[in-house]
Symmetry: C2
């Protein structure tokens, strides 16, 4: 079978790749038929130039144009859903239902449509008008965005269909997608619909492009090239930090989602009060998608007690009784086994699991335990992410030790505190929150972190090394759009030269603007 | 005279410095009496720990507390204005009037008071509430901020009194100020009042601290230490890039203002229409403060014509007739002379000036000229900033060449377009703007860039290498505060544990909040 073409400058183009790769079916542990190119530098450079041309062509376009594209694209995905789901299932082994069909694909088209609404409405850009001084500003498109998608969400974080893509486009930027090598076929189907949608809505050639894989050096070029505006990356810490270094040197913004163990503090009153509910919530969250979630609860911190031991036993029993999910790739299985070995080498004891499942691409649901004093001897080794269905319980002798564990944590996407409903845990909960709040982007109460609602108030971000900057979120409209923007100020610029959202009339009628300190949808009223 | 103490952990403390320095009076070209310490690493580390303790102590404080400090501090600066102005004049030779007394000091206390208002009002943090999902988020303090002030604004950008300081504090963060070595006495007087204001308003020890100088390595520590939240730096590109590298590696946000030549495009109709007005505006902007402004117009691009020659001659005559201002330091004089030599080596011809003023710390008002085709051979050398009273005219043969010059520019803080009032320049203005818009933070029409209004719509920022990230502004409340924030999301967090601005009632009554997509000052209304 011939090598699949890449999408450059509006055309499906044969690649001059000398190297190719094939995805695999994780359920069958067999390679799939399709062959995909590793694009040489020349193709990366052509994509960058085409994206820059598309950026120039769309300069000054109203949000409506980008919204129309996103909506058309969402409709096309819906129309081709069966085929996309089938191929994604083959490439990832993620369950067709409910995961792919009922959860992830609806979420993905919903993200595209929310982004379209935000682009149309325009408030995301925080238009700000100082009437007296005639100074006006707003967040404007930053330039072509390179999006590197992860392995674990073939739809919702796909480089050419997921949240980063939607946000970058809604903010008015062309996208160069770098697909993930584990699901190139899924990405190809999306790209076909994206390209068709650009034609349907008369976007310029090169507005959306797809490369399946590049060398590491060319990945670095994508995030640092003078014609590029910004980049978004979700994936391993090592890969992300290499890209960050290249982008930082060039002064280009890069938004990273690197790793997170999502600590859950279960305070004693909660264990006493509702042990069965906790077991249900925790095991569901932990084993969902074989634990292959950025917000998987990889660490649970508890106080030692008979109830804690009972909780641990109940979780272990549930782990044993639940069939382990199929992992995404052989490399995920290897990485997971290594992580568990690293935990053990640092002193954690195996409670259950800790070995591959025979004859399948799967790892036994795994629980380890370590006492807090042992944790505190090597928190760095013990808090490296184990990507998959393994989790670590840390048992503290007292509140002070539990707080020390909290203090030893690095930046995470989320942190959760479970406490009793009668107030017995409140004093300790306040102390834990004080420490945890600085270390996480999203703080939860009595709720597991795995669900990441596409809400305007969501923060899917957090302090380094969870991400590269604690001020930004990868999920949630409108805030996620502002990542891909430059602040543009207009000082004494003549009225007819202003971008539409900064002119005196509110042309959409819907756009919230900060006029002389007041948020309003009214037109600018000049005082006589 | 003994070495001046440093301000650490709420106390004026003798430094254990082995190395010291003395500022000079630029007008007299003589050292001043006071001696200041270069703090060793131990003092830097103590300051960081004290700042972290102060950060922990102020966690969860309402904006009102930070506002009260800023207001008290502003009042104290006003009360001590004479002494501060006198010492600043001695250390910088900037004119007492109008510059220091009527412009810069009022601006500085105004910035502190605007920041106080923003902290009190609370909308800067973009509180966002998703009622149905009970997910709430806002921008929260990021942690201790290190502020490195520049040489050219002893008040308005002072590390312990200027815009970065005001923004960092208003956002709720302790500040470690690293004073500029050219005006340590001015900085000391501010710090005395800042410390007194912390006591008056019961801020914790270590909330504001001052180090006069450190080694480069310890400067890097200040921007990268795990206990630090972020840093702000205004100064030379070399120094800033070194700090950026250290901060980037540690995943700590750093906001830089590095260099800018602020291109001004004067289109032919404007020259024909109002040559005298242009000469007045341009020379005033260019020679103000001996050109030692980050927004000094260092580059003027024109089309060749007899009128352009006349404009150039008139500017040169005005340059010759205006007494050159005293420069801030011998190093500024040396740097300026080097920059002019670099321009000449790259092909620019001297029109007037180009030499030091005999017997004074000053450089002749200097104008150079280069044809656009010569510029295009080495734009990198020709667009390095010449800090001081020197500017370069680039003369293009035609519109196409003028646009090529625009295309060759790197990121700048500002860019201006002058055009005629009858529409004759409009087509060319549109083409210039298309190119220039992507390269500057603030675009001006018919106005010189030197004035930087403290307006909510201001952007004192721009693409690299003008700054480190094009999405942020160093001037303008409330946006400048958000630089020093982390996004904090609360997912299902119990009502009494929420930060005040995210609770159902709007406790200040003034805070704008984005509730279910609508900006409002109302309380959260739960639907039955």
């Amino acid at each position: 079978m011939s090598v699949r073409p890449i999408l450059i400058d509006g055309e499906w183009t044969p690649s001059a790749a000398e190297e190719t790769f094939r995805p695999a079916n994780p359920a069958a542990r067999q390679p799939l038929d399709d062959e995909y190119p590793v694009s040489p530098r020349d193709e990366v450079e052509r994509a960058i130039q085409a994206a820059a041309d598309a950026f120039a062509a769309t300069a000054g376009w109203p949000g409506e144009r980008f919204a129309a594209f996103l909506d058309a694209y969402a409709a096309r995905i819906d129309a081709r859903a069966d085929e996309i789901i089938e191929l994604a299932h083959a490439e990832t082994a993620l369950p067709v239902a409910p995961r792919l069909r009922e959860v992830e694909l609806p979420r993905t088209v919903n993200q595209l449509r929310q982004a379209a609404s935000a682009a149309r409405e325009g408030s995301w850009s925080l238009p700000t008008i100082d009437v007296k001084n005639n100074i006006r500003s707003l967040h404007a498109p930053i330039g072509p965005v390179a999006v590197f998608g992860p392995n674990n969400f073939p739809f919702a974080f796909n480089s050419i269909a997921g949240g980063d893509f939607a946000a970058a486009v809604a903010a008015g930027n062309p996208v160069i997608a770098k697909g993930h090598s584990l699901h190139p076929g899924t990405t190809r189907l999306f790209a076909e619909e994206a390209q068709a949608a650009t034609e349907e809505t008369e976007m310029p050639a090169g507005f959306v492009q797809l490369l399946y894989r590049t060398s590491h050096e060319d990945g670095a070029l994508l995030v640092s090239h003078p014609l590029m505006g910004a980049a978004a990356y979700t994936g391993s810490r090592t890969g992300g930090l290499a890209l960050k270094q290249a982008a930082d040197r060039a002064g280009k913004p890069i938004y990273l989602e690197l790793s997170s163990i999502n600590p859950v503090f279960v305070l004693p009153g909660a264990v006493e009060e509702r042990i069965q509910k906790l077991v249900d919530e925790f095991t569901a969250s932990c084993l969902m998608g074989a634990g292959q979630f950025c917000t998987n609860p990889g660490l649970v911190v508890l106080l030692e007690s008979p109830e804690t031991d009972a909780f641990q036993m109940a979780v272990a029993a549930r782990f044993d009784a639940t069939p382990p999910g199929t992992l995404l790739a052989e490399s995920v299985l290897e990485g997971l086994a290594e992580s568990v070995e690293r935990w053990r080498a640092a002193g954690a004891k195996l409670v259950t699991g800790g070995k591959p499942v025979e004859g399948r691409l799967a790892y036994a649901n795994t629980l380890l335990r370590i006492e807090a004093d042992a944790w505190l001897k090597d928190p760095d080794a013990l808090q490296t992410e184990a990507f998959g269905n393994a989790t670590l319980f840390v048992i503290a002798r007292d509140a002070e030790e539990l707080l020390e564990v909290a203090n030893s944590l690095e930046g995470n996407l989320t942190g959760a505190i479970y406490s009793d409903t009668r107030g017995g845990d409140d004093a300790l909960a306040a102390k834990v929150e004080r420490v945890l709040r600085r270390k996480v982007g999203r703080l939860l109460n009595d709720k597991m972190p795995t669900g990441v609602a596409v809400s305007p108030a969501m923060n899917h971000g957090g302090p380094f090394p969870a991400t590269g900057h604690p001020g930004f979120t990868a999920v949630g409209v409108p805030a996620s759009l502002r990542r891909f923007s430059a602040l543009h100020c207009y000082d004494n610029v003549r009225p007819q030269r202003l971008p539409i959202p900064l002119r005196d009339p509110n042309s959409t009628g819907d756009t919230w603007r900060l006029i002389d300190g007041l948020w309003t949808r009214e037109a600018v009223v000049k005082k006589p």
